[in-house]
Assembly symmetry: C2
Homo-oligomer: 219 residues x 2
């Protein structure tokens, strides 16, 4: 298809498409003349992926490019590739303590030990968990052991479903599923939790649990 049709099919503006081509996120179409190129379904899908990673997952262009590069040219194994992709997801290091950066993550270590999980300080998600727990604590909402146990158990069950559904096909397919399944489903999980809060609170307001909760009934 011509670029005008690619614009229409993808809903992405010509300016943005040119930008993604320049930044290497989108491969050039096949030249059909000096001034025209042919684009394929692969380009439509790639544009959807770029928009998903930037608009919905919230990555910068350079972080989205990192994730896409890892799917296209994966490292030697699934773990290394997934680890590198996770390093392109937030939360990020400040970078302002690059010289003396700690390689100990005490909050993450304690949480993982409590849950009986592997602690590997080199896996990027360990630092991310540590930062997220430290941020919640500093803002006045430290994660109690009971909360961690509860969250950890249910999140693990979600992760078990993810791994059980890893495609049987090529390593390339498994890597793409692992990388994109991690990134694209985080906003889904966040939205589901926001909506479950709404649903549960609505039920609690209209069906209080007992006499003591009567003040919760809407007047």
């Amino acid at each position: 298809m011509r670029v005008s049709e690619l614009v229409e099919r993808s809903g992405v503006s010509l300016t943005s498409i040119k930008f993604y081509l320049r930044e290497g996120l989108l491969k050039p179409g096949e030249a059909s003349s000096a001034t025209q190129a042919n684009y394929t379904e692969e380009h439509v899908r790639r544009l959807a992926l770029i928009r998903a990673l930037t608009d919905v997952v919230g990555l910068s262009i350079s972080k989205a490019a990192e994730v896409i590069r890892l799917i296209e040219q994966p490292k030697d194994d699934l773990f290394l590739t997934l680890g590198a992709a996770i390093g392109a997801l937030p939360p990020y290091d400040d970078g302002d303590d690059a010289s003396g950066r700690s390689h100990e993550f005490p909050l993450a270590r304690a949480a993982l030990e409590q849950m009986g999980q592997v602690y590997d300080a080199d896996y990027p998600a360990v630092r991310q968990l540590d930062r997220a727990l430290a941020a919640a604590a500093a803002a006045g909402y430290p994660a109690e052991a009971e909360r961690l146990e509860h969250y950890g158990r249910h999140v693990r069950s979600i992760a078990e479903y993810d791994i059980a559904n890893l495609p049987d096909g090529s390593t390339q397919q498994a890597i793409e599923y692992a990388v994109l399944g991690t990134a694209l489903y985080e906003p889904v999980i966040a939205a589901l939790r926001r909506l479950a809060h709404q649903d549960i609170a609505l039920h609690r307001l209209t069906h209080p649990l007992g006499g003591d909760d009567e003040h919760l009934v809407q007047g």
Copy 2:
């Protein structure tokens, strides 16, 4: 304390503190002379909250300011305030279809109906779920009914824990807990899932489930 001590205690640079004061995210200290002001523990905690919302949750300064304003001057009830705060969290609207924006969210509606939950098109998380599901589908990973059922059940259990632990105190406290608990714990949940993937995959690699999985054993 003087501003130099606030810098030291919070780990936030003087330049950033001045910026947050100018943008109204941080209240001025109490003037102690023409050129000096006194800061309190409240300022230390507020700086931690600003950094948590920007660096860890990943909000822009203006979105972080929106969330903080809602905690300081909540709307009439918890729902309106929480809804408004959720509107300041990603994923955001493109904004380029502002005129004819749809108020129907078919993917979110189907998911919520499947889960037996309230569908209220005006609640911002509905649009966010719809966008997240559409993005996953467009990138080639649509959410199957079984996946949604599994995710939904476990996310709901997490949300039930959150609501069961809503503080008994003032409405102001409940609103702060709801808003910050939603925003600050999303990165924790995301990191826990990334780490559960690692832990489960490691166990699967070293303890294959059966003869057919033997090729998964590390050589």
